[in-house]
Symmetry: C2
Subunit: 201 residues, 2 copies
DNA sequence: ATAAGAAGCGACCAGCGGTCGATATACGGA
DNA sequence: TCCGTATATCGACCGCTGGTCGCTTCTTAT
């Protein structure tokens, strides 16, 4: 890219995606802290300063990546909810969809989970919004199940957080006891049998 | 402490504890990244260089703090296991004990959970050892419950990770839906009803 | 009196995230 | 055709970080 040419919005977006891709790769390999803007810039074939024309801060790269990915995941979850009437199957499908998030997002997702309280307000708000949007979908399924009598009465907010966090920390673990799909399946079994009404009050 | 006096081992240990206490406070308030060794040193009334006589690196302060705390928690868990024969009550008591970990450890525990893969090998190994030791206690309770027929057959390693991670991410959350004790109680209800044998195979 | 050694710290280092002004190029209007 | 303006790019720089090293100061044993 010579100096004077003006980039179309599409080209701008493409470059952003390229940067995010490189950043995710590096972060997965070396962790967030040890991944430097200089390194990202070098691999993206641009000066470090140019990076800052696409992202205001290093944090924003991570926030942007996660934001986009979770929004997609949430959209797909909404589609699943619309298509599947059984709350149990619905939850299973949503979590299976969640499992489909590429593994390069693992580190950055966990990092955000830890660090989000200490980010700039703008990023905190953006992250909170997408997290809540996703959680709301799961929570609504659980509440629906409770209303239908399929699930016992439970704290739906807590249960949905439990479910989502289990995905993050159990299935994304670096030391799996078996295949991700089987771990997910057993995780769902554990949580569902605690939610499903076995005929008690 | 004037310059030439030699510290007894007790005094050394005391100073270490003082440093850890200050560090935990700062980390809880500002996050790990934004807590600097200079700041810790200033509050501990010593030159930054002197900090390095007590801890080799900044990471080590966090590792040491967590190591000590989890070791204590694990010891107490072992005591609980020895005293309580009902696997269900045992798990509940262990998790209630876990809940007793002071809240200042929250940030540093989550930080380690995220970052541990990218630490120096020594720290990685130390963390892995204490994590496994704790997990093993929980896992043995579950396995015992399965053997007794109180719990259904399940992946005990997965279930114990699920339990421990739920503590970390649900109960320590900054946005609780109710009191920690009630959240813990409901979390245990959810997980246990998925573990307890309801008379099926 | 002095040598040995502990405790403490000031000055320094490379590397970091982030800023800014200079530069090179493209393009619309005269 | 040429020029002014908008754009894209980057080198040089800043304050700060985690970490190192060697000097100083003091205690203690001889």
């Amino acid at each position: 890219m010579p100096k004077g040419i003006i980039l179309t919005p599409e080209q701008q977006a493409e470059r952003r995606e390229e940067i995010v891709g490189i950043a995710l790769r590096l972060i997965e390999e070396n962790g967030f802290k040890k991944t430097s803007m200089r390194e990202i810039a070098a691999l993206a074939n641009m000066g470090k300063s140019s990076l800052y024309d696409f992202f205001k801060t290093k944090d924003e790269i991570a926030v942007y990546a996660v934001e986009k990915q979770i929004k997609e995941t949430t959209q797909e979850a909404r589609r699943i909810v619309a298509d599947e009437s059984s709350p149990e199957q619905c939850l299973r499908k949503i979590m299976l969809n969640h499992l489909g998030v590429p593994k390069q997002y693992r580190t950055v997702l966990m990092w955000l989970n830890t660090e989000s309280d200490y980010l700039e307000e703008e990023y905190r708000n953006r992250l909170q919004a997408i997290r809540y949007a996703y959680q709301d979908v799961v929570q609504s399924v659980i509440e629906n199940g409770v209303a239908l009598g399929v699930f016992r009465k439970t704290d739906a907010a807590l249960a949905s957080r439990l479910l989502i966090n289990s995905m993050l920390s159990i299935v994304y673990t670096s030391r799996p006891s078996t295949s991700p799909e089987k771990m997910l399946d057993e995780t769902m079994n554990i949580i569902l049998r605690g939610i499903i009404n076995h005929g008690g009050a």
